[in-house]
Every structure is written in C-alpha cells, then in structure tokens.
Amino acid sequence: MTTTYTSTKSSLRWAISDVFTLARRNLIALFRTPTLLVFAMIQPVMFVLLFRYVFGGAIPVPGQSYVNYLIPGILVQTTIFGAVSTAIGLAEDLQRGLIERFKALPMARMAVLGGRTVADLCRNLMILVIISSVGLLVGFRPHGGLLHYLVACVLMLTFAYCLSWGFAFIGLAAPNSEAAQAMTFPLIFPITFASNIFVPVSSMPSWLRVFANNQPVSQTARAVRGLMLGTPIGNSGWVALAWAIGVILILAPLSVSKYRQAA
C-alpha cells in the first residue's frame, strides 16, 4: 500500500493536463445532461427564430435588414450567457462536494476554475458554429469577409471568457446551483437587454441610451456587427477588448481567492 506513482512530466505540463482533464469532464457532463444541452444549444436557436420571424418585422433598423442586425447581436448575447453556466457549474461542484475532493488532491490549484472556464469556452465555440449556421439559413448575409468574421468570433469569445472568470465568483459564493443561476440574472439581464443587441438604442429614453450605448456588451456587439457586416466599427473593438481585460484582471483574483476559501 505504499506504492508511489512517479511521473516524468513537469509541473507546468501537469497543470495544463489538470485543466484539460477537468474541461473534458465538464464537456462530458454537458453532452450527457439534456437540460444543459437544451439551455446551451436549443434556447439560442429559439431566440433567433423568435426575433427573426416574430418580433423582427416590427423593429426597423436603418440601413440594413433586421436579420443582419440581429444575428451578430444574438451571437454576443449567447456567448455572454455562457458565463452563467460557469457560475452554475461551479456551484454544483461545490454543492456535491467535488471541490472538496479536488482540493485534497495534489493537482494544480487553479485547474478547477481553469477547467470550468475552458469548457465553457468550448461550449461557446460550438454555439457560435450552430447559431452562425442557423443564421445563414434564415437569411443572414455577413459581407465583412471570412477573416473579419473570425476576428469577430475571437473578440466575443475573449469577452465571454473573461466574463466567465468574473461569474465564477458568483458560483463559488452561491449556496447552490439554483441560487447561482438566480444571482446571475440581475447582472446578465440588463447588460444583454439594455444594449444594442436586439434593437438600435436610438429608440430608448435618453437616460437608458447613455448606458446602453456605452456599456461593454454593446461595445462588443457593435464591433462584432461591424466586422461581420463590413461596416465601420470605430474604436469599439478596442474598447470591448479593454473591458474584457479589465474584467478578468479585477474579477479573476476575487474568484481565485473565493475558491481558496470555498468548500
């Protein structure tokens, strides 16, 4: 009973391996849990259909078709919703005592958060592919070119990834996964709906317009939309990136310290 298993890998390689091991585990859970899969994959498709065919006709957008306005917005909205699953996933792990088990293992300290956020990044990537395909089917015509399309995807994935690190804090602070979901709602709702994602901000009252115009999600959506449609984006791409970096620099340390206290 005193066999020790020694390994030749360096600690950095093991840290990467730990993140990969846990990311894989989270993705397996995603594919084996129908409710998660529906939340992740079906719900955004429903949003596309809802806004394209039900609300869309009533929303005038100057200079372009509504479907071209909508799809980049929905892509941003959906990737940001991915951060909610970061919070829910961590709350569940905590609730089930898995984080306690992980903490007593000689694995890399940051691998639980790393594995969770990387899994949610992969999930977002899959969603981008699905929504983009559905978008093309319902008439979305991005004229910005493939390269710009990919840059737009990288930008929103980066923003969503950074946000995941912030939302990790909520997952670790919540007493259970239901509460985690409820706690993310008051944050996610205003930043996705009081924005230019579904409608141009020009129709909003002026006090709301100031917020909706300048908040980070709108900046990201503006950049993504411009890149995909081949219209000018001004400095919104850089502003979005700055927000993303700011979010991860400020919130990731808070989440990490919360993780250390948790369990």
């Binding site: 298993y5 091991t21 846990l22 397996i28 905590l94 088990r101 992980f102 007493p175 206290q261 369990a263």
Partner: protein, 333 residues
Amino acid sequence: MSDYAVEATNIVREFNNGKFRALDGVTLRVPRGQVFGLLGPNGSGKTTMVRILSTILKPTEGTAIVNGYDVAKDPEAVRKSIGLAGQFAAVDENLTGFENLRMVGLLNHIDKPVAVQRANELLAQFGLTDAAHRQSKTYSGGMRRRLDLAAALVASPGILFLDEPTTGLDPQSRQDLWTIIETLVEGGTTVLLTTQYLEEADRLCKQLVVLDHGKIIAQGTSAELKQQLGATVLSLNFASTQDAQASLSVIADISKKPANIEGTTIELTVEGGPADAAEALRRLDATPIKLAGLTLREPSLDDVFISLTGHRAEAVTTEPAPETGRSKRKAQA
C-alpha cells in the same frame, strides 16, 4: 520518518471571525497502520478536523503534521500522502465509474496508462466492474460510497481520511465497507475515521477520541471507554412519570453512575447485565410500582455521552463552515 501518521497539536479552528469555535485545542497522535476513530455527534468538530488534516481548511491555531509534513507549510506533500473520502460521496454523477477513477488518477498526476490500469484494478477490487461503464448517477448508495472510497485510493495513499464513511448506508453495505477498511489496514494503510456510531468505532478502531463541542472529552481504546462506561444499558419503562420518579430511590444504586430519567423511562448503565436486571425486578416487585417494560441493550454513543458529559449527544444542528454556507448546502445535497 515519524512513528505517527498524524500529529495534530492544539488545533483551534474558529468561524465567523471568532464567534464560533469548531475546534478548541485538539491534540491527536495517530499511530501508523491502524484505524483511529474520531467519535462524536453532529457539530462536535469531526469534519472540521478532517478538513484541516486534508489541507482543505487552515487551522486558526496549532500545528498539524501529516506523514511528516506540515499541513500549513507543505500542503502539496500532504496531499500526495493522503486519500480523502468525505461525508457525501463526492463522485461526478455524469461520469461513469471508470471515468471518475481515471479522472482522479490523472488529477493525482499519475500517467494516463497507469491511471487507466489503476481504475480497472479498483473497480474489480470494489465489485464495480459490471457497473464500470455506467454513469454513477445510476449507482445505489452503497455503490457510490464504494466508488468514492476507490477514488480516495487511486494513488495508493498511506493515510486515508474517511469522514463518516457509512452514514446513510444500509446494514449490508455498511458491513461491506467495514470489511474493505479492515483489508486496507491489513495492507498497512493508516485510517483516520470519523463516526457517530459506537458500534462502528468498536468494530474498526484500535484507538478512539471522543469529541464534543470541539474538545476531546475522552480517549483510549474502545475497551477502555466501554469499561469507563459500563457494559450494558438497562432501560426501564413505567406506566407514569410518577412511578418512574418513585422507583428511582429503589433501583438507582444498582448502577455506580447517575441514572438518566426521561419521562416514563429510566436508564441505568450496569456492569452485571442480566443479573442487574434481575436485581431491579426483584426490588421493584417488592413495591407497588408497576413496571411497563424492561430492556437490556448495548451502549450507544448517546450513553457514552451521558456517561461522559451528563448530556445527550443530540444533534447540534450545524456542522459549521459559515463562510460559504456549506452546511446548508450539504443538507440539501
């Protein structure tokens, strides 16, 4: 290397900025190669102690050395020395049994082929081979516990912490788990086990510590504790509380310990067993008091507590880790 697997000295752990003391100066010496029991009711500090020894929580005061390594200074080396199976089978229910064990192997930094081999070995050893490729959410409670214990053993740790390993299990699963633990110890593993059950401590543990409100209130071998306690509990039932009260003066001196009276029931810890029961009957027969029932039973943890502390080991509601609201979480889990 130290003779002790665990040496904890004056461990204090406070929660809520010092408003609550879960552990209040606990000192433990756990010798290698045996089962050491931490016995106590809910909220006595058992789980907090295990969390400190497995580096999950830091002690507020005191030092803990596990396998020769300080939990505060060298937690990494401690984690490599130990296996932990917590109070609630911490398996990922979306993964199969095999996937769970392989994951824990990889997270223990065991190379992949070895981790796979080890997973299969453990599944066979714990009778889970047939269920290896089923999601663990389909497992029974006993199977989950076995998988959880297997996960704690993936890296073949020399020291195993088991936090209430049989709580909530049916009698057969409990027996199975006891046999597994005994086999491990025969193989040289040191086991620190927490339990609420005297029977379990009695069966498995060579040495015991009894915790109450974060303090050690008794320690020794199971036999020593029993001796201290008296071998059997004589429980007498009366038709009314008046009868119970009245009989007290007649029979109280059969036991050397103070009698415990609750409503219509009197409990005496007795050394003579049936002979003492017969004595009680004889004496009561000579009085007009009507006896409604009489039982002799093995002492429970409650009896140990009444004997040691004068109060019942009733469940103090929270096993506290208030920083995270973890206790609430557990109750729901």
